[in-house]
């Protein structure tokens, strides 16, 4: 396999395999026979910390809009709602990662996949484009995170 791209989050590297595509909401997407298999990128997982909880608010068979809120995830450092990276239909949900969210830490690009969406490749990014997107996001993300951690919410 080709060497992954690396985005440096401060001193911490986030690896981005080049055999798949990425969504702007920090998910990876890999073409499979019944659609796109998606999961969280290393960038997202590093921000969340050790994953402890994952739940879905959609079921297999449900149609989803792009950016629709579809789930919720909690890690040691942060929580987040999860949003659909593409419009389509939920084809499969990975039960293993619901039962053991730490798969997102240990095997995020393989057995830690989240779900399969039937969808067209609408607006997915190449690894290089995602790397550029991360470079653009990172300064703002850092300021947002520092603002939250400071607890004053900018007021």
């Amino acid at each position: 396999m080709a060497k992954p791209l690396i985005f440096m989050m401060g001193r911490s590297p986030a690896f981005l395999p080049t055999d798949r595509r990425y969504a702007r909401n920090h998910m990876w997407a890999e073409a499979v026979e019944d659609g796109w298999r998606v999961g969280l990128s290393a960038y997202a997982v590093k921000l969340l910390g050790d994953l402890s909880h994952l739940e879905w608010s959609v079921e297999v068979g449900a149609p989803v809009e792009a950016r629709q809120q579809i789930g919720f995830v909690e890690g040691s450092k942060a929580t987040s709602e999860l949003f659909a990276p593409l419009a389509g239909e939920v084809r499969r949900i990975n039960p293993a990662v619901v039962a053991d969210p730490t798969l997102l830490n240990s095997n995020l690009y393989d057995t830690g996949w989240l779900l399969v969406l039937s969808a067209a490749d609408a607006g997915l990014l190449s690894p290089d484009e995602y790397l550029a997107h991360l470079a653009a996001c990172w300064p703002v993300a850092q300021r947002i995170l520092k603002g939250q951690a400071g607890g004053d919410h900018g007021r």
Binding site: H26, L48, E55, R155
Partner: protein, 306 residues
């Protein structure tokens, strides 16, 4: 010492048939059990303020066991909001599974509950009825000590308290944490909060709350406000998740909004939905607190098309 203890089963909401099965197994397992006086109620969070369920619970003056599909902390403070007070007992400490939690420093606002224990059991902690029944058995033994269970009279048939409920949505205040800072009172624009006769914050108009809006829970500096049916454990009352205040929320970075903005957004969306639903002419303009820096940051984020 009493020879039986009331066991209150707060049933799952009707939209959860999976949970209803476990409710039925618990009723079967507890009916006629020595020492157990079983009462079955609709979901405790959905009980009307002066409905039959609350009217039944209020006069119980001794210890009781409450089984509910909620965190024990949420169940306890929901009961408190209904005027049913005591000390929170948690079964996990009896099993020796977890160390007894250190006594919380008493917040200035904590009420003096009556000297009785309300044991709260989280039914979501088990996927089968048996371990729940074991846990309940341990509590009954502890609560009725020193009477040996075999010496107890057989329990009565379950008592069904009938109340037509519908799903409610309102904030529940943990007065063990609340510092009466009144941030929630200032933040909520739906008039949910008020002060009682002793100037203590209360959810005065709980049903004025907008369903789905947990904004005041995010804004509370003490992590004292719970929405027991919210998906986020920190908001639903998980003491571990919310002990150090709410965690960072990355929803804005992952496609949503950051907490303060998220909170204001949730509130404002709930308001516009209310206005749309009621087809009211837009009334007094509601201006969220000035957050220029934050707004600028969020605008930058929007520009990035996350």
């Amino acid at each position: 010492m009493a020879d039986s203890i009331p066991v209150i089963l707060s049933k799952a909401r009707p939209d959860r048939p999976d949970r209803a099965r476990m409710d039925a197994q618990l009723v079967e397992g507890l009916s006629g059990r020595p020492g157990v006086e079983l009462h079955v109620l609709p979901h405790v969070y959905d009980l009307a303020p002066d409905g039959p369920g609350v009217e039944f619970l209020r006069p119980i003056s001794g210890p009781m066991i409450v089984l509910a599909w909620l965190y024990p902390r949420s169940t306890f403070w929901v009961l408190d909001a209904h005027g049913v007070r005591g000390r929170l007992g948690q079964a996990a400490s009896l099993a020796g599974d977890e160390p007894e939690p250190p006594p919380q420093a008493k917040a200035p606002n904590a009420p003096d509950g009556p000297d009785r224990t309300i044991w709260c059991v989280d039914l979501r902690a088990h996927d089968r009825a048996e371990p729940c029944l074991d846990e309940i058995g341990r509590i009954v033994d502890a609560a009725l000590e020193p009477a040996a269970p075999e010496g107890l009279p057989a329990g009565a048939l379950p008592d069904l308290i009938d109340e037509a409920t519908r799903p409610r949505w309102y904030p529940v205040v943990d007065y063990g944490r609340c510092t009466n800072c009144l941030e929630c009172l200032n933040f909520c624009i739906f008039g949910v909060y008020g002060l009682d006769a002793s100037e203590r914050i209360v959810a005065e108009e709980p049903d004025a709350c907008r369903p789905g809006c947990p904004a005041c829970a995010r804004i509370c500096p003490a992590g004292a406000i719970m929405f027991p049916e919210h998906a986020d454990p920190a908001i639903a009352g998980d003491p571990a998740a919310s002990a150090d205040g709410l965690k960072l929320d990355l929803s804005q970075l992952f496609g949503g909004a950051d907490p303060a903005h998220l909170a204001a957004g949730e509130r404002d969306r709930a308001l516009s939905e209310k206005q749309r639903r009621e087809e009211e002419p837009p009334g007094e303009k509601v201006t969220p607190p000035a957050q220029d820096d934050l707004d600028r940051l969020v605008d930058e984020l929007d520009d990035l098309d996350l």
